[in-house]
């Protein structure tokens, strides 16, 4: 948002950010609501412990306080890239303030609830919003600097010592990621009757997490860590897997049956989203019926599980059933992909849309007695391997882990496998062919790529991965219903891929997590749930069209701001002018390169 740059005179940058930070501190101490929230059946919750507890620093107050203190320190400390850091704190605190204000005003009947009413004053949210705005404006006054580069070793070490240093840094970083994941997952609690503030608490936490990540990105930490992890790839993968496996243990706070279920569901959709990313992100083929492949995998696995509702009545061991499910889904993928030989772009999207509809209608009407129809196929037994049913709680390393944890472990492995398949394919002859087709299909053909075969292969691989995910999904859920595989799910998966960042793994995982957690977390907005959800999507796409974790290349494509604070349009315009000038002066040397960092 370069429009904010220089809106405030440069001389005022420091006062603005300092005052903004102080306002955060004040907002953290002030009461936020003039009325008693949620009275009635939950008397102990109506003590305003959340929104009206001066000097009791918990949750969002603690986050605002942290942002405020850090903002004041950073304002006066010689920190490289401080503008981005301050701006991130500003946006984060602003979001916390806006969410609090909207929620309290909505519950308490208007503006009075967040200003003064019935002899009480509660200006916390307003002060936080003003503080956030001051921080953002002040931080943008001088334009945004470059993100600083960090040396590979902070101490100039080499060899073994450097490796050790990198390992320690990576351990700390991944532990931080684990903490953030656990916090995000559990922020706001389960919600519903147990804790009616779950929605705003969760959204406010997202504001904090976003501000924190933005600040770390601004000082160059995230880039540094990702470079280190790229350099020490095997080590990073092992640590990341260990972190994923550590999530259910009691010390993370996420080790309950409920959170394991949520995490496992996210994992299933993440694996599916990565599969879809091959079709949409790499090959550029818009697939609007993708969830049907997950459904095919699910129903195949269900029919091979010995469930009573199946006309087949076969009972195969789970690994074999999952394999067959994936293969069958893959075959259907190739069949659906075959029209890609003839149709392109929008028309292909319609073909896939129609296929998705055919699948869900066929399943609804129980064609071939294989889907259970409208009454679904209940009672699918849990996966049982090595004599253990996967829905049982287990004891591991002396810790009692909740039931469902084995599904979570299995899904972590499957997501890891799917990630490996995606990454390897992307960096291969096939992956390059897919990307070439996405970029320019005619040019790809002129390079000798059999585009038809390549596109069918993309559909086949994507569908296989979705089928595998579907097989796990159906055992975890215990019921196979056509209702789980409708058009809306396809759209949500597609949104996950686009929102997260096309063509990247972390993007697909993050997108899937957000899209399948948000509706869960926003339950008590009941009627407005999907509205808020949709609004969030629109805002993210407006202000971050490249997705949350963009491809290195898409990052370049969408980079609205550059080191000199020019937009791409300006640079291109300048390049055209230079080109024209070079054309006018035939003796001049080649036009200077575009100065893009």
């Amino acid at each position: 948002m370069s429009r904010l740059n220089g809106l405030v005179p440069a001389a005022l940058a420091r006062p603005f950010t300092a005052i903004g930070g102080v306002l955060f501190l004040i907002a953290a101490m002030l009461p936020w609501a003039t009325f008693i929230l949620n009275d009635g059946p939950y008397p102990e919750k109506s003590t305003l412990q959340f929104f009206d507890a001066p000097f009791e620093l918990t949750g969002f107050r603690w986050h605002l306080l942290l942002f405020g203190v850090l903002a004041v320190i950073v304002t006066f400390a010689p920190v490289r890239g401080k503008e981005r850091v301050l701006r991130s704190f500003g946006w984060g605190g602003l979001l916390i303030g806006v969410i609090g204000a909207l929620f309290i005003a909505g519950k308490g009947g208007g503006i009075g609830a967040i200003t003064a009413a019935d002899g009480a004053t509660a200006l916390g949210s307003i002060v936080a919003i003003v503080g956030g705005a001051l921080l953002v404006l002040g931080a943008s006054a001088n334009g945004l600097g470059d993100i600083p580069e960090w040396p590979t070793s902070l101490f100039g070490w080499t060899g073994m010592k450097q490796r050790l240093e990198a390992w320690v840094v990576l351990l700390i970083a991944f532990a931080g990621v684990l903490w953030l994941v656990a916090q995000t997952l559990t922020a706001g609690g389960i919600g519903g009757a147990a804790f009616p503030y779950a929605g705003p608490v969760f959204l406010a936490f997202l504001g904090f997490a976003g501000g924190l990540i933005g600040a770390l990105h601004g000082v160059g930490v995230t880039r540094w860590v990702s470079q280190l992890s790229e350099k020490h790839r095997p080590f990073s993968i092992v640590v990341l897997l260990l972190c994923a496996f550590a999530l259910p243990f009691p010390f993370t706070g996420a080790g309950s049956q409920y959170w394991m279920q949520v995490a496992a569901t996210i994992g299933v959709y993440a694996a599916t989203a990565i599969g879809l990313n091959i079709v949409v992100g790499l090959s550029g083929l818009l697939d609007l019926g993708y969830v049907a492949f997950m459904g095919i995998g699910a129903f195949v696995a269900a029919n091979l599980s010995g469930v009573a509702a199946s006309a087949l009545g076969w009972n195969l061991p789970f690994p074999l059933a999952a394999l067959i499910a994936a293969v069958v889904a893959g075959i259907f993928g190739a069949i659906v992909g075959s029209p890609t030989l003839r149709v392109r772009g929008d028309y292909l999207a319609i073909v896939t849309l129609a296929f998705g509809e055919i699948f869900s209608r066929a399943a609804q009407n129980n064609i071939g007695d294989l889907t259970g129809g409208a009454s679904a196929m209940p009672g699918i037994p849990p996966v049982t391997m090595f004599g253990t049913a996967f829905n049982e709680p287990i004891k591991l390393f002396g810790a009692q882990l909740p039931s469902g944890v084995l599904y979570y472990f299995m899904i972590v492995l499957v997501v890891g496998l799917v990630m490996a398949v995606f990454a390897n394919l992307k960096n291969s002859r096939m992956g390059r062919a897919w990307i070439a087709i996405r970029e320019d299909e005619d040019a790809a053909r002129a390079m000798g790529i059999r585009t038809g075969k390549a596109k069918i292969l993309a559909f086949l691989v994507g569908a296989t991965l979705a089928g595998l995910a579907g097989a796990i999904f159906v055992h975890k859920l215990g019921t196979a219903s056509y209702d789980s595989f409708k058009f809306l799910e396809s759209v949500t998966l597609l949104a996950a891929v686009i929102l997260g960042g096309m063509g990247t793994i972390p993007g697909a995982v993050l997108g899937a997590s957000l899209l399948f957690v948000l509706p869960e977390k926003l339950r008590e907005f009941s009627d407005y749930r999907l509205f808020v959800f949709g609004l969030a999507l629109v805002l993210i796409m407006r202000f971050r069209p490249q997705g949350l974790v963009p491809d290195r290349i898409r990052r370049a494509e969408f980079a609205g701001e550059t080191a000199e604070g020019k937009s791409i349009e300006e640079i291109e315009e300048q390049a055209v002018l230079e080109q024209e000038q070079a054309d006018r002066e035939p003796e001049a040397p080649a036009a200077p390169k575009e100065g893009r960092p």
Binding site: V421, N424, L425, S428, R429, M430, G431, R432, A433, I435, A436, E439, D440, D442, A443, A444, R445, A446, M447, G448, I449, R450, T451, L457, V461, I553, R554, A556, E557, Q579, A582, D583, P586, E587, A588, P589, A590, A591, P592, K593, E594, R596
Partner: protein, 282 residues
């Protein structure tokens, strides 16, 4: 220019009586050209003469309505991918790189048909896969150096300056190991220095044993580059021969370069007289 220029050489690419009709429009009418091994053939002609249409017929993008295209005596399939595998590579008039891929990746896509890894190998990245990948990378970097794009491997293609994009397109085409390279206006939009570099590059490509067909508007460039030149006008070959023959042919001067100088001079004089007359009247 090489001494072998006028000696006889085996025909590599041959188009015989190619006719291309779109609806009622005859874009090409009975066009025949032939390309000798290690030769550079130029195609010139005014806009809309059918030069690019002929290229599209040679590369399988269009199937000619009548006539045949043969590579070393073998009829070419009408599928661009198969034509490229057979040994014909091309560049495009309006540059068509893969804009969001890096420079190196663009050339690696060109290696696609000369690599043998299937989908299974691509998933597992075994030792054989890695050997093939390393070889393809080495070859691609070598080609990038050959066209003069050193040290730009990891730049995104769309960020390259115009002249470098043209070079990258040539490197990508060469990566398919073609026998024949078709260049569609390789110097469009280039300044004289870049044009000269392009000329030297095409000579170097020819010296590696690749035969070249070039479409160009810049007649000076074509006449100093090619062994033979064909002039296309309204879908037909008007003149064919050595640059000297073509340059001095009055039909070419009229159809392509404009009317003979004396006629133009006469017209100018006429117009001047008319203006003079008009002034006197008012």
């Amino acid at each position: 220019m090489s001494a072998a220029r006028h000696s006889a050489s085996e025909t590599v690419l041959e188009a015989q009586g190619v006719t291309m009709i779109f609806g009622g429009l005859t874009a090409l009418n009975n066009v025949s050209i032939s390309l000798g091994e290690g030769r550079i053939v130029g195609l010139i002609g005014p806009n809309g003469a059918g030069k690019t249409t002929l290229f599209n017929c040679l590369t399988g993008l269009y199937t000619p309505t009548r006539g045949a295209v043969r590579l070393r005596g073998k009829q070419l399939p009408s599928d661009p991918a198969k034509v490229t595998s057979a040994g014909i590579a091309r560049t495009f008039q309006n540059i068509r790189l893969f804009p969001n891929m890096t420079v190196l990746e663009n050339v690696l896509v060109g290696r696609h048909i000369r690599m043998k890894q299937g989908p299974i190998a691509s998933v597992f990245h075994g030792p054989g896969f890695r050997r093939g990948e390393a070889a393809a990378r080495a070859k691609s970097i070598e080609l990038l150096e050959f066209v003069g794009l050193n040290k730009l491997d990891h730049e995104v293609a769309r960020n390259l300056p115009y002249g470098d994009q043209r070079r990258l397109e040539i490197a990508r085409a060469l990566a398919t190991e073609p026998e024949v390279l078709l260049l569609d206006e390789p110097t469009a939009g280039m300044n004289p220095q870049e044009t000269e570099e392009a000329r030297q590059l095409i000579f170097r490509i020819r010296d590696t044993g690749v035969s070249v067909v070039v479409i160009e508007h810049d007649t000076k460039f074509i006449f100093s580059l090619c062994d033979t030149v064909s002039v296309l006008v309204q879908g037909e070959v008007l003149v064919e021969g050595s640059p000297e023959t073509v340059r001095d042919d009055p039909r070419v001067i009229e159809a392509y370069l404009g009317k003979p100088r004396e006629e133009v001079a006469a017209e100018v004089a006429e117009a001047a007289a008319a203006i003079e007359h008009h002034r006197e009247d008012s």
